[in-house]
């Protein structure tokens, strides 16, 4: 990911870690039934 040159306070987490967290959040939402079906 590109650097956010003008970000005043950098996040402590890398984009890599954010991607993992986002994927797990989606997995949890699917697991608990908030998201039931994703079409393709």
């Amino acid at each position: 990911m590109p650097a956010n040159e003008s970000t005043p306070q950098r996040s402590r987490l890398s984009w890599d870690t954010w991607a993992v967290l986002a994927a797990f959040l989606a997995a949890v939402l699917i697991r608990v039934g908030v998201i039931k079906h994703i079409p393709w």
Binding site: M1, N4, W15, A19, A23, F24, A26, A27, R31, I38
Partner: protein, 366 residues
């Protein structure tokens, strides 16, 4: 009185908060563009074939992966990507990693260990061979030693991320890393079109082709796309092989960091374990964890199917991003020699890994 003094602090905090929100909002137009191009690719796949059939035209069946890349390439190399979209387009690697983690749901742990074990053996041979050959080529072409190191790491391990990680670790020039990145990206773009053709010409199985794409194509986004262009199964295998390669990044970067520190041209690595953890791609762990959860039936069949589809959508945004960020004019500006070294290296590495995969195919009978 106190309000008078507190007000500027409150304003500062509000401005900072607003800046954060604006940073987030900056990516929205580009992400929408990625989604629009990806979806257009999907619609074109569904409708162009039907239209050609209705009108009795002979037209190849072009998959959404290729449509998304071609649409992105067309925009990037004609009108260019307007500034408002750039921050969002740059998120394509984020979507790639989300897609890889979710793809873990489609792999049972046993398959990961079996295929990952085979991949790991092949990856170790590929990395050793590629590093040795690229370092040799750099000497023959009289490239600067640190540029050679960056090209070697980019070709052997994992493209752009490896180059950026190595640049920081060996104190290389920004210019060297942009040369190396341009060469790796240009060659990755070429691989998108040549690899599927070679695979079909050699009648490679999905398994063999997927492993080959994962071993030979350097950047993760291009390796995933090159695999998916062949078939869905090949795409899965390409991601697995490439993820195994990515897992090696820390060790290779650490080795070069120690070498250059020994030459007095880079900072000494004090805590090697912390260095390895810092460079380790965390999405590999996410992929493994989702695979473990799927193996032990944490998700129902329908939920696995939903996760797999979500992974496909994330990859769709990635493929659109691959096309949008590939600008051939910009790449040409970077000069011929690094590109020549990269090109020769890539052709040799592609041939070498193809021989490895065909050998492994004969041994394991895929």
């Amino acid at each position: 009185m106190s309000e008078t003094f507190a007000l500027p602090h409150v304003k500062d905090a509000q401005i900072k908060q607003a800046n954060h929100s604006l940073q987030f909002l900056r990516v929205v137009p580009g992400v929408v563009l990625l989604a629009a191009i990806g979806y257009a690719g999907k619609l074109l796949e569904q409708n162009v074939g039907k239209y050609a059939k209705t009108h009795h035209w002979v037209f190849p069946n072009i998959e959404y992966v290729l449509w998304a890349i071609l649409l992105g390439l067309a925009i990037s190399n004609t009108v260019g990507v307007p500034a408002i979209f750039r921050a969002g387009v740059a998120t394509y690697e984020f979507w790639l990693k989300v897609g890889i983690v979710l793809l873990g749901a489609r792999f049972l742990l046993g398959d990961v260990l079996k295929l990952g074990g085979v991949s790991l053996g092949l990856v170790a041979i590929e990395i050793a061979g590629a590093l040795a050959f690229m370092l040799f080529l750099g000497k023959v072409f009289h490239l600067k030693p640190k540029l050679t190191t960056l090209l070697a790491v980019g070709s052997a391990v994992c493209g752009v991320s490896a180059i950026i990680a190595t640049q920081g670790a060996i104190d290389a020039d920004e210019e060297d890393s942009s040369f190396a990145i341009a060469a790796i990206l240009a060659l990755g773009a070429l691989a998108l079109f040549t690899f599927p053709l070679i695979g079909h010409a050699l009648h490679l199985s999905d398994h063999a082709y997927g492993l080959w794409a994962g071993l030979a194509v350097d950047n993760t986004a291009e390796a995933s796309a090159a695999g998916a262009l062949y078939s869905d199964a090949a795409g899965k295998l390409a991601v697995l092989a490439k993820t195994t390669r990515n897992a090696m990044i820390g060790f290779v970067v650490l080795a070069f960091a120690i070498y250059w520190a020994g030459q007095g041209q880079a900072k000494t690595v004090k805590n090697k374990a912390a260095f390895l953890w810092q460079k380790f791609p965390k999405f590999v762990l996410g992929f493994l964890l989702i695979s473990i959860l799927a193996t032990y039936h944490f998700f129902t069949k329908d939920q696995v199917s939903a996760l797999a589809n979500l992974s496909r959508w994330a990859f769709l945004l990635t493929f659109a991003g691959v096309g949008l960020r590939t600008n051939f004019r910009e790449m040409r500006k970077q000069g011929v020699r690094p590109f020549a070294v990269g090109a020769i290296g890539e052709v040799v590495i592609a041939a070498f890994t193809l021989a490895l995969v065909i050998g492994a195919q004969k041994i394991w009978g895929w």
